[in-house]
């Protein structure tokens, strides 16, 4: 089976699975595999709860502060204030560089600011820190797909979206991205 056909099947499977219960990935899902939610701009957010919900009594103070700042950065991203979001997320990084989520949202901030290469660099770091969480790997590869797409690297975008769906078949952003990229790859005649 060719690569494109395989990807189409993957996209189809995703659509089918959207109406059915998914089986658990061998990698763990955060927060018991809660479904993703949409934010105000219609984009998929990784989790319906804020990052603050990850703070427990055992959370070290640096991590707690960093998670709160990351959450603030995430909200600023949602509200479209990308420059402020970036500043807040950089502060979060300085407080706790082992907070994996901050790299993901820094990547998102750079994507919004059209700094695609830097966004990919942050995603590379996020990937190594979240390598055991299928859900987040799905998010990371999906965002990589967006960056590659913006850079005009459609084949790499295609691969990233497909990888995202492999990690998390529920990743809507990846599915949408995949179909968009495949339309582009097929050329104008296919539109």
């Amino acid at each position: 089976m060719g690569q494109k056909a395989r990807l189409l099947v993957l996209a189809f499977l995703w659509l089918v699975q959207g109406c059915a219960t998914t089986s658990r990935s061998p990698l763990s899902m955060p927060d018991g595999g809660r479904r993703a939610s949409l934010n105000v701009s219609g984009e998929q957010l990784p989790e319906e709860n804020s990052l603050v919900s990850k703070i427990t009594v055992d959370t070290p103070p640096q991590r707690a502060a960093s998670l709160r700042l990351t959450e603030e950065g995430r909200r600023l991203l949602d509200s479209g204030d990308h420059a402020k979001a970036l500043a807040r997320l950089e502060q979060s990084l300085a407080v706790d560089s082992s907070n994996p989520y901050v790299y993901f949202y820094l990547a998102m901030a750079h994507l919004r600011l059209a700094q695609y290469r830097q966004s990919i660099e942050f995603l590379d770091v996020a990937e190594s820190l979240l390598s055991s969480l299928a859900y987040w790997l799905g998010e990371i590869h999906s965002l990589k797909g967006e960056n590659y797409q913006a850079l005009g690297l459609l084949d790499r975008a295609n691969t990233s979206y497909a990888t995202a769906l492999r990690f998390d078949p529920n990743n809507r952003r990846a599915a949408l991205g995949l179909s968009r990229v495949q339309r582009e790859l097929r050329g104008p005649a296919a539109h």
Partner: protein, 794 residues
């Protein structure tokens, strides 16, 4: 037709009087012509000043902001010092206005009414907070206005210095609407009460001054209006001559004729000299309100306004810093005049008389970080000319942490002094070859340069050794060899390395391109078969060269570049022992990559540049690049931790630095350079010691650079949480016997916990010390500190 001949005949017939009148007319006409020309010229001069750029505004450099959050290490004493530097004023009760704070040690809290501050991303209005502090840790933060808990608090950045031209002037422009009317009235009352009624000069005031001076037998009063004072400050010197006074008067009349009273007044309020802060003059009412009271003009009390108005006559004589008494006496004169003129009520007058003048603590901003500031200037020079930096009033926000900067300055200076005391041969006779050093401090996570000291004494030498001194790194280069071994294995792909891999430490000849290179160990001591860890901890030259020989120089060089070395590295065997020159900043960048789990960052000093209108001209973001895996970085850090615990940096432990840290000493073959680069997970510092003229130091990195590093880190990390390098997924920590290289048994006399990539560690138990029951995993079997095979080398 009139001819010259006819005119001559006519003149002969004219009587003398007519002749005289004619000459007079000609002279008057000529005088009028010249006078008109001169007035037009003066008008042009005045207009050019009023309509053009009147002042130069030095760009201001700010440190980084200070983020406080629950759980951060923070003592009340440290916080008070910080607040004083930021011009906060202690208050007896709960802070009521921006810039006040109250400390209650008994109840363990500090209440702060935060300043308003124009941050690069927009202005932030100050609000009152209560910070509860217990056991030198911030516990809770509450907004006192809303009673809500807040989870982080950002204290504004400290002003470091400015980029000045030849004249060091501090000034910030205000519009008339930003100045309280009462301050304006106070100034008018004492300096020019008829300002709104005269036309630039005030003959009545001149006559009054003339009369007073005549009766007192000397010049005790002036009759200059504000407009005349402004003209004098703009264009003229303070010479007391008739010519200068006439010119000043003419310019004042022209200015008054051409511009509105409010325009003249606004210029005056920004131009006027109001005191001296060290080498810098304080100009304008905004800067003066800040300098004397740490307030915005609109926040001044009646008494404070009167004091400022009173300063104009003689700012340094009436300044409250040399004499509060003199300042109070002068203020009371102004208050009396204000009351006489009906500008204030009796109640206001009496209340203001009771005000005690409390100037803010005198904070000199005499550039505590001259090398850092020079570095910023170099960085900015790519985009901004000197003219722009000294005149356009930019605000430059940096990564500098003034607290760390002061510690670094002190550690370097004291450390070099101590070395000279201990080793007299380091004291050279001439000043031109003095023992010197450098220290650079980086936050590995972001690449922010938190402190930089480029030399021992900036006044004597502005040569910034952190960035300008290219020196041989010596053994501090070795971690790149070991990392290359972990990352690539042997060049022929037949061998993988772990920290427990064995290597021979014995005399060795490296043959290349028909040449030979024979590295030697320090003091020619060789240890036979050793592990990679032992070779690194003891900084063994021949063992390192053998590893590099197997890994390949190209791979070693590749790792050095990947980590952040930027100097050109030729493919020579001696490269692996640090024979190629690099700067301390390069070493710090490369080590920061290890500290940051394999993620390289760009050194970041300039963060944002803002123009006077608040527009962001430039923002430099944190830039990252993952160059090795977190697992590889962790193993390397784990090995470099051993340098502190068993190796050449044990001295740091003896000197009381007991935190988990990784690092490496560096000494060049001829002992001309001594290095130490070390880091905790949160802070990295690299120290270099040597002579600019490359005289022989005769000391190793652990003798010369390590003590400076240790003193810096001890103070820099005091009170902060102790953190260790956390193993990422994919790392096995196994207790092993270093003699056999196998999993330790309870019978093994020496045990170390070693880090391996998942699946690469030993699985069989030590055959040298078999035991019926063996444990593997997280619990150490024996006391690690008992492990020591090889005595420390260099």
């Amino acid at each position: 037709m009139i001819t010259w001949k006819a005119i001559g005949r006519g003149l002969k017939r004219l009587p003398i009087l007519k002749m005289f009148l004619l000459v007079l007319v000609v002279l008057v006409a000529g005088g009028l012509f010249l006078g008109t020309w001169y007035l037009r010229y003066l008008e042009g001069v005045v207009s050019a000043k009023f309509d053009g750029r009147k002042w130069k505004f030095p760009s201001k450099i700010y440190s980084d902001t200070y983020l406080i959050y629950p759980g951060i290490a923070l003592s009340i004493d440290e916080l008070e010092k910080k607040l004083a530097r930021l011009a906060y004023r202690p208050s007896a009760g709960r802070p009521q206005s921006a810039g006040e704070y109250r400390v209650s040690r008994k109840d363990g809290f500090v209440e702060i009414y935060l300043h308003d501050f124009d941050y690069p991303l927009g202005p932030v209005k100050g609000y009152p907070v209560r910070l509860t502090i217990g056991s030198n840790t911030a516990a809770k933060i509450h907004n006192l206005e809303t009673a809500e808990e807040v989870y982080s608090l950002e204290l504004e950045p400290e002003l470091v210095t400015g980029f000045y031209d030849s004249v060091w002037e501090e000034r910030r422009l205000v519009t008339l609407s930003e100045v309280p009317p009462l301050l304006v009235r106070a100034i008018l009352a004492i300096e020019d009460e008829r300002f709104y009624h005269h036309w630039g000069i005030d003959p009545l005031a001149v006559m009054r001054a003339f009369f007073v001076n005549l009766t007192r037998g000397g010049i005790v009063q002036g009759g200059s209006t504000l407009t005349q004072q402004l003209m004098k400050n703009f264009f003229l010197d303070s010479e007391r001559t008739i010519k200068r006074k006439v010119k000043e008067a003419l310019m004042a009349i022209l200015a008054d004729w051409k511009y509105s009273k409010d325009e003249i007044l606004e210029n005056y309020l920004n131009e006027i000299y109001l005191g001296q802060k060290g080498t810098r003059g304080i100009f304008g009412v905004w800067e003066a309100a800040q300098f004397y009271f740490a307030k915005e003009p609109l926040q001044l009390t009646v008494g404070e306004m009167a004091m400022l108005a009173g300063l104009i006559r003689a700012p340094n004589r009436y300044s409250p810093y040399p004499s509060v008494k003199a300042a109070t006496r002068r203020r009371n004169i102004v208050l009396a005049r204000m009351f006489e003129e009906g500008f204030i009520t009796r109640a206001q007058y009496e209340r203001a008389l009771r005000e005690v003048i409390r100037p803010r603590e005198f904070v000199r901003h005499d550039n505590d970080a001259p090398f850092y500031v020079d570095f910023l200037r170099r960085e900015l020079a790519e985009n901004y000319s000197t003219e722009v930096l000294t005149a356009e009033g930019l605000r430059i926000f940096s990564s500098l942490d003034l607290h760390l900067q002061r510690i670094a300055e002190n550690a370097l200076k004291t450390g070099l002094d101590n070395l000279e005391k201990r080793y007299p041969h380091l004291r050279k006779s001439g000043e031109d070859d003095r023992l010197d050093g450098a220290i650079v401090v980086i936050r590995p996570q972001t690449g922010e340069i938190k402190a930089m000291v480029g030399g021992r004494d900036y006044q004597k030498s502005q040569f910034n050794r952190v960035i300008q001194a290219k020196r041989q790194p010596g053994s501090i280069f070795k971690p790149f060899v070991y990392l290359a071994a972990l990352v690539y294995g042997s060049e022929d792909k037949t061998e993988k390395f772990t920290p427990l891999s064995f290597v021979e430490d014995s005399p060795f000849t490296w043959q290349y391109e028909g040449k030979e290179w024979k590295p030697e160990n320090y003091q020619e001591a060789y240890y036979g078969i050793v592990t990679l860890r032992q070779a690194l901890e003891r900084s063994l030259n021949t063992a390192t060269a053998r590893i590099a020989n197997r890994v390949g120089i190209r791979n070693v060089r590749d790792i050095a570049y990947r980590l952040g070395i930027e100097s050109s590295l030729p493919l020579l065997p001696s490269l692996v022992l640090g024979s190629v020159e690099v700067t301390p900043l390069e070493i710090s960048r490369a080590f920061a990559t290890l500290a940051n789990n394999g993620v390289r960052t760009n050194p970041l000093a300039v963060k944002q540049v803002i123009d006077q209108a608040g527009r962001v001209l430039e923002k430099r973001d944190v830039r990252v690049k993952k160059v090795i895996t977190p697992q590889q970085a962790f193993i390397m850090n784990h090995m470099l931790k051993g340098v502190f615990d068993h190796g050449t940096a044990r001295g740091a432990r003896w000197r009381g630095f007991n935190r988990p840290a990784a690092g490496k000493t560096g000494t060049t073959n001829d002992t001309r350079d001594a290095w130490f680069g070390g880091y905790t997970p949160d802070l990295l510092a690299v120290v270099w010691v040597g002579f600019d003229k490359e005289s022989r130091l005769g000391l190793s990195g652990s003798e010369a650079a390590l003590p400076i590093w240790t003193e810096f880190m001890k103070e820099a990390t005091a009170g902060t949480p102790v953190t260790d390098f956390r193993p990422p997924p994919g790392i096995d920590l196994i207790d092993v016997d270093p003699l056999s290289g196998y999993v330790a048994t309870p019978n093994c006399p020496q045990v170390i916990r070693e880090a391996f990539l998942e699946g690469q560690g030993p699985v069989e138990f030590c055959p040298l010390h078999p035991a019926p029951i063996v444990l593997k995993g997280a619990t150490p079997l024996l006391n690690h500190s008992s492990w020591s095979i090889i005595p420390a080398g260099r």
